[in-house]
Amino acid sequence: MFVELNNLLNTTPDRAEQGKLTLLCDAKTDGSFLVHHFLSFYLKANCKVCFVALFQSFSHYNIVGQKLGVNLTVARERGQLVFLEGLKSAVDVFFQTQEEPHPLQFLREANAGNLKPLFEFVREALKPVDGGEARWTYPVLLVDDLSVLLSLGMGAVAVLDFIHYCRATVCWELKGNMVILVHDSGDVEDEENDILLNGVSHQSHLILRAEGLATGFCRDVHGQLRILWRRPSQPTAQRDQSLTYQYKIQDKSVSFFAKGMSPAVL
């Protein structure tokens, strides 16, 4: 986890809020550093994490996690982390016929079905174990990333249903958190993706949006991060808070600074 980002968001692993949906969004840049941040954050907060990793392989997250101070292999063996590796599971589903329902079963179906098997998997992974003391503080669902489901043939409405079911179970029933990454296609008219992005941002409590700089590529400032706090359940009596920072990604951390205050410029 990036300490500077914790300061900006005003949280620490000990006293993070529960029952929140965080949306990570990236436009014209790569926002995966935020996923690594939240993964290590919640593992350090001793939460039970279910990670639906559709984009990269397990060893990728593991190696970056080690740079950030968490060991995913150990967490998986201890039972703290339930990892669904999308790439590997897709190959399994595609080439071998499965008897029992597989979370990525929709890959084999011709028509866009629904994501019920995936939801069952998540619910099974995060349900509290009866008997014995509670080892983990609260459950967390992490999805990287949701736009891949659209590329794999699901409709935007099916994906939104899945998010709704997960939110009802994880955030409301189990008082846990959800973190979701969605790509913003920007000026490319990807209607399904826009529907998905708008739908999820309407339901989320915190939106972190990583954008490229308006002026193009820069070696010292990799992009701009917009933080938006929302209160979707209450009427908008209070104004939503929004902050903008620019960032530079280094080997093991990310440094944030106010706009125009990059150390390279000053």
Binding site: V64, L87, V91, F94, A110, S151, G153, E192, G216, F217
Partner: protein, 424 residues
């Protein structure tokens, strides 16, 4: 990469190395474990795969793309387990050359090839590969290697450095040349002996697809399903993923797929905006990447993205590939006669570079790149404005140059995009 990692760090016999590989479920992205530098490991020999080298940044195993200039722009080469997508130029003149350089590099390094095409027979594609340009020293060793396949291990006694006679030799698997990255002569054909000595598999779609159209359960085009099954079969049979107990493979599989997404593959994304199978290509890419991540293989795909009607699909395809390079040739456009571009044949855009096992990636600072195909060589250079040497600087010529420079590209890749109307 998995094989290299587990082989060096432990038990001597290669059998157990493969067993540990399949048991611990390593992918090709495993970082090489901490290896005691030769002091504890006197047992097993170092087995290095010819034609690969570890990346400087994260120890990832890289292969050359066949163009050393491109290797440098991509941060050293193409990582094993990743997909390189080339967006074809408009008349498909220069992208086949990059494709063939990649395959020729595989032959020169002794890698196994898998060539898939719906348009040309893979045997014909291999006949047309460019010849490698070898300098004299390596040319001598190449000639000898080709004609003496079965030379016994040389036991010439060393006279001066006789202590080194006792040390274990590096075991390299039959390469023609031990360099990383070669230059190719586009005007000559590769020698026939090299093709015959290499191990290659071809997938020609009209031969593989049967005339009876069975209704497939998945919403993938039948051609794509057949290709995926073929690739998975080769990977399993020849042991590139370490799961086959009979085969212990220490080689790299280079996969080349030509014109993916074109109507010849049975896909209609180039013909209609909202076709019936619009997810076919993206599903194919996803499953292909899953196959590559767990095996010692690297893939190059050329795709006619300028024909795809639905721009959203291009964005999704870009997101699902690891490295994306776009070629833009000047033929037929007004840039052909533009004095700004008179030395070059086209522009090359590096649209995306992956961040593998890392938070950052090796992005080059140079965003304006142009290529030219001289009589022999294909070179990539940084594009710069020619000096304005005319005595009377007319207003119109300055206007032309300014217009062209505006269109030089927004100067950014997928890493950080900007609004296009900003002008400096």
């Amino acid at each position: 990469m998995a094989a290299v990692a587990t082989c060096g760090s432990g038990a001597g016999s290669p059998g157990s190395a493969v067993a540990t590989a399949s048991k611990s479920n390593v992918t090709s992205f495993q970082r090489r474990g901490p290896r005691a530098s030769g002091t504890n490991d006197s047992g097993p020999r170092l087995v290095s795969i010819a034609g690969t080298r570890p990346s400087v940044r994260n120890g990832q195993l890289l292969v050359s793309t066949g163009l050393p200039a491109l290797d440098q722009l991509l941060g050293g080469g193409l990582a094993i387990g990743t997909v390189l997508l080339i967006e074809e130029d408009k008349y498909n003149i220069y992208s086949p050359l990059l494709f063939k350089c990649f395959l020729a590099e595989g032959i020169v390094n002794g890698h196994t090839l898998l060539v898939a095409s719906a348009k040309e027979d893979p045997a014909n594609i291999l006949q047309e590969l460019p010849a490698p340009l070898l300098d004299d020293n390596s040319k001598k060793e190449f000639d000898e290697d080709v004609y003496n396949h079965k030379t016994p291990e040389s036991n010439i006694k060393m006279k001066i450095a006789w202590r080194y006679q006792l040390l274990p030799k590096m075991e390299q698997i039959g390469p023609v040349s031990s360099r990383f990255g070669h230059y190719y002569d586009a005007s000559k054909r590769i020698p026939q002996e090299l093709i015959e000595a290499s191990n290659w598999h071809g997938f020609f779609l009209p031969e593989k697809i049967s005339s009876t159209l069975k209704v497939e359960p998945w919403s993938l085009t039948p051609g794509y399903i057949k290709l995926l099954q073929f690739i998975q079969n080769i990977i399993y049979e020849e042991g590139f993923d370490g799961s086959n107990p009979q085969k212990k493979q220490r080689n790299v599989l280079r996969i080349g797929i030509q014109n993916l997404g074109s109507p010849l593959w049975g896909d209609d994304i180039c013909c209609a905006e909202n076709g019936s199978n619009s997810h076919s290509l993206t599903k194919f890419l996803y499953v292909l990447r899953g196959l590559l991540r767990t095996s010692l293989s690297a893939c190059i795909i050329t795709m006619p993205t300028h024909l795809i009607q639905n721009k959203a699909i291009i964005a999704r395809v870009t997101n699902l590939s690891d490295i994306v390079i776009g070629l833009e040739s000047f033929i037929g456009s007004e840039r052909e006669t533009n004095p700004l571009y008179k030395d070059y044949h086209g522009l090359i855009h590096i649209r995306q570079i992956p961040r593998l096992n890392n938070l950052i990636c090796d992005e080059s600072d140079v965003k304006d790149l142009a290529f030219k195909l001289k009589r022999k060589l294909f070179t990539i250079e940084r594009l710069h404005l020619p000096p304005d040497l005319s005595d009377t600087v007319s207003h119109s010529s300055k206007q032309d140059l300014a217009e062209s420079t505006k269109r030089l590209g927004p100067g950014c890749g997928m890493m950080a995009g900007g609004k296009k109307h900003l002008d400096f």
